[in-house]
């Protein structure tokens, strides 16, 4: 019997896949408000995530300029699809909408508060 998958080297921490996602202001505020990932308003069936913070930050800068944050979450392996090796971009993962609630997002890179004009 192979019990290797039951060994958790970090007691108290659930084993799984730690993934990062760059989010715009609307998604960031939605996560802060609800405490969870929600399906995208556009109707996409899943959300994309990166295995590294560096990848997520690069995506955030190119998608949203300075107006983005990065959230991190530890998903059960069974909730995640991938890795998908994307040409010139490295690995990405997807999480189907129905599995998004299986992880609790935490802020990795906060989103700056917009300056209020005087």
């Amino acid at each position: 019997v192979d019990l290797s998958g039951l060994f958790n080297p970090f007691p108290g921490r659930v084993p799984g896949r730690t993934l990062y996602r760059a989010v715009d202001r609307a998604e960031f505020e939605d996560i802060q408000k609800t405490g969870k990932f929600n399906p995208s308003p556009g109707g996409a069936e899943s959300k994309y995530f990166y295995p590294t913070l560096e990848q997520a930050e690069k995506m955030g800068e190119r998608m949203y300029g300075e107006d983005y944050g990065v959230v991190v979450a530890n998903f059960p392996e069974s909730a995640v699809e991938g890795p998908f090796p994307v040409a010139t971009e490295g690995d990405v993962f997807t999480v189907p909408n129905e599995n998004l609630e299986l992880a609790t997002p935490a802020v990795e890179v906060p989103l700056d508060t917009p300056e209020i004009p005087e």
């Binding site: 899943s46 995506m59 090796p85 994307v86 040409a87 010139t88 971009e89 990405v92």
Partner: protein, 154 residues
């Protein structure tokens, strides 16, 4: 592929000048400077814009091995500056060669294949001007190598 213009976008004029010089002989590859690289804020006038898969999530991009997708944007997206279509990046198959040059060739060739297929099946006007962000094409690839890739796949 006739009637297809490739426009390479970047904020760095020196980068664009280098690409333009190397791609001059191809005729169909041009460059355009933007104030800053923002994936969903391309300059106006294109029929489609290449986006890496996560950037095209909003339009339902799926991680399909070996195949790029052509996805339609909404009228609201187009009011915000997007062209009518996005062309997605591609997931590598286990047998696909890895490394900056073969992956860039894969990215470009699958994008152009998707446009060709779309234009053949399209009753409308099709895609005749396709934009690429230079940052997606120059990941470990020189402008000279990029020009060679375009020469092979166009």
């Amino acid at each position: 592929m006739s009637h297809l213009e490739i426009v390479i976008l970047d904020a760095n004029q020196a980068t664009l000048d280098e690409i333009a010089t190397r791609c001059k002989a191809l005729g169909t590859v041009t460059v355009q400077r933007v104030d800053r690289v923002l994936y969903t804020r391309p300059p106006k006038g294109m029929d489609a814009l290449f986006l890496v898969l996560p950037a095209a999530e909003k339009w339902g991009a799926k991680p399909l091995p070996g195949k790029a997708q052509v996805l339609k944007t909404s009228p609201e997206d187009q009011r915000d500056g997007m062209p009518p279509y996005v062309v997605t990046g591609v997931v590598l198959r286990p047998s696909d060669p890895r490394g900056p040059l073969p992956e860039t060739k894969m990215l470009i060739s699958t994008a152009l294949d998707a446009v060709r297929e779309f234009n053949l099946s399209s009753d409308g006007e099709g895609i005749h001007k396709l934009g690429f962000w230079a940052v997606n094409l120059l990941n470990g690839v020189t402008p000279q190598q990029l020009a060679t890739v375009f020469a092979e796949v166009l």
